[in-house]
């Protein structure tokens, strides 16, 4: 992630823009103080007391994944690769979120586990639990650091505040509001940030589309200039085609199933938001309510990225006037937004960075406290004790995050490789969950081996690709197939190990396996808009409609 601008992008903020930024920061801290009185137990701190309505957890669910790394990264990918980036949303995130809500959430919420690793401990054994808890805490800290570093770079580029200051300043804001209000604070701020980022980016997109002469004009211009794979998502996805996303099988099975299901259904930073919901139904509705706005996020990330290709002539060039792909959105802001609207957009980006980091910190402290400290180091203490541990873990997490931010600043390539590694870890983890949820025979021992062998297979594929032993069209193409290979090896391993070993006693599987749910899943009494299955199907249908609309442009 190289965000450093070659061209000077320092924005000319007027007093009103600075006023907006300050008001936002006051609100962020104010929310922390307001929610402080609601935190009385560790459940309040780590899971918001399981009390939030579905619209709040649903928006927090997508907002936790709408950090500025994602916003800038997706607009950069769109500027570089074109329309195919929508696959991450319409084939990737949407089906996975619907699946999480309809199929998996009853097990997560119904079994009353407090974290994703805890499910693994109950369904499999402590080996599977420990490997997941450790890698998750490591990954959270690393990603928090990467977010923090990206934030500092943008603040430095846009506002002229030195990186070191920006890192410490924004980290202390995140620290104080999580410390005060726990997960509720993080979730409230995520929802607030979601609306601010919309208010900041929608005007920018409207101007950008108007400047290029409308949507069809934009797609026609890009098609003529950059070729047919740039303005159409499925062109060139046949075997041997030229689309950088690779072949359609890799996109649908690799990205759509293995990688996306792996990320969205097992990442505790996401699932934790649904676990904070007030009822099984609200928990199931969380990712499904999130899916609807998620369908349209490409309009504020991918669309401006593509428009920037036309509007910023030096985009992607090196040299004195070159603008990095990552700076597509900041460059558009610089070029078009007047005082007021500019302040909202800057506030939105800064807010997105903080929310991205807060999501990692608030899930890190929960897993560290319950799954590492309480399980392996100091079991059986009072709730008050674990609340204190959680608060200390929050401080430690942010401090380590600052440290990893400096590491990320100096070794950008290393942190990229780590991120790739953790991505591969998600896929075998997902296999382990899905087999465990649907196959009673899966033995306690098999989970650990499934995760291990699947990860090794996916990482080996990546290494062989780097060594030019096997070739793919691009890193993206490789990652989709790496996901498929990791999934297959993980699944085969679980089956083989299970058949060779003893199954878990049936009475220990209650609430954890399909057919043995603890809670009544009848949704007939609810009005239509509160029923996960029809609403989920609606989101899937909408993503097909959006593909069709895009293909007519």
């Amino acid at each position: 992630m190289e965000l450093l601008a070659v061209k000077d992008l320092t924005l000319d903020l007027s007093p009103v823009d600075i006023f907006l930024l300050i008001v936002y920061f006051v609100f962020v801290i104010g929310i922390g103080f307001a929610l402080k009185r609601a935190v009385k137990s560790s459940s309040d701190f780590f899971l918001s007391g399981r009390s939030l309505p579905a619209w709040i957890t649903g928006l927090a669910f997508i907002s936790a994944n709408l950090g500025a790394v994602e916003i800038l990264g997706q607009s950069a990918s769109a500027a570089e690769y074109g329309a195919s980036v929508v696959h991450y949303f319409w084939v990737g995130a949407i089906p996975a979120m619907v699946f999480l809500g309809i199929v998996m959430m009853p097990f997560y919420y119904g079994s009353k586990v407090r974290s994703v690793p805890e499910y693994l401990r109950l369904r499999y054994d402590r080996k599977a639990h420990l490997i997941n808890a450790l890698t998750f805490t490591l990954a959270s800290l690393l990603i928090a650091g990467v977010n923090l570093f990206a934030l500092a770079v943008v603040i430095e580029a846009l506002l002229g505040i030195p990186q070191a200051w920006a890192i410490v300043l924004s980290a202390s804001f995140v620290l104080s509001y999580i410390l005060l209000g726990g997960l509720s604070s993080a979730i409230y701020n995520e929802v607030l940030q979601f609306f601010v980022i919309l208010a900041g980016l929608i005007p920018l997109v409207v101007i950008a589309v108007k400047e290029v002469g409308g949507l069809s004009e934009l797609f026609a211009t890009l098609g003529a200039r950059e070729g047919p794979t740039f303005n159409s998502a499925w062109t060139g996805t046949e075997p041997g085609g030229a689309n950088v996303f690779g072949d359609f099988f890799g996109i649908i099975v690799g990205l759509g199933f293995c990688l996306s299901f792996g990320y969205w259904t097992t990442n505790f930073a996401e699932v934790q938001r649904a676990m904070a919901a007030k009822s099984t139904n609200a928990a199931r509705m969380t990712p499904i309510i999130g899916a609807y706005p998620k369908l349209f996020i490409p309009l504020i990330t991918i669309l401006p990225g593509m428009a920037a290709v036309v509007l910023i002539p030096t985009l992607g060039e090196t040299g004195a006037d070159g603008v990095e792909y990552n700076n597509a959105i900041p460059a558009l802001m610089d070029q078009y937004l007047p005082a007021g609207a500019l302040g909202v957009a800057v506030t939105g980006l800064v807010a997105a960075f903080m929310a991205g980091m807060a999501a990692n910190v608030s899930s890190f402290n929960a897993v560290f406290t319950h799954d590492l400290w309480e399980e392996y180091v100091r079991p059986g203490r009072s709730d008050h004790y674990y609340l204190l541990v959680g608060r200390l873990a929050t401080v430690a997490g942010v401090v380590i995050g600052i440290g990893t931010a400096y590491i990320a600043a100096n070794f950008q390539n290393i942190s990229n490789y780590f991120q790739v590694l953790f991505t591969f870890f998600n896929v075998p983890l997902f296999v382990t969950f899905i087999v465990g949820m649907f196959w009673k025979r899966a033995s306690p021992n098999s989970g650990f081996w499934g995760i291990l062998v699947g990860t090794i297979a996916a990482v080996s594929t990546y290494v062989l690709y780097l060594q030019d032993v096997i070739s793919f069209r691009s890193d993206l193409h490789e990652s989709f197939w790496g996901g498929i290979i990791g999934f297959t090896f993980g699944a085969v391993t679980i089956v083989v190990v299970s058949l060779a070993g003893k199954p878990k006693p049936v009475e220990e599987l209650r609430g954890l396996v399909h057919g043995m749910e603890l809670r009544d899943m009848d949704e007939g009494e609810q009005p239509l808009y509160r029923r996960p299955v029809p609403m989920g199907m609606g989101a899937l249908a909408l993503s097909v409609v959006l593909y069709l609309i895009m293909s007519t442009l």
């Binding site: 009103v16 006023f19 104010g30 307001a34 607030l192 007047p338 005082a339």
Partner: protein, 97 residues
Amino acid sequence: MSEKTQDEEQARLLTLAKLFDLRTFIGSLFCIFGVAVTIAGITASDAEVARASDLNVSLYSGLAMLVTGIGFIAWMLTQPPVLPEADSKMDRPDSHN
């Protein structure tokens, strides 16, 4: 606890719950943002408007934010938060499904 003070306590809790409802935060932030950005839009120079593709974006987005902010406050007032804790403690102490 007498009935009167219990009612007062309930009313106080409800006021607090309203004040700390997420919708109040979003609503008031958007009202403040809306007013500030609308003013920036009204006072925008012709050059600024011309630069933004001949749209007075600050004016339009400011007004839209103001409407959104009022909408959130109205939603909170018409469907006020319920008090689950007080409810279960006072009315049905053992009914934690």
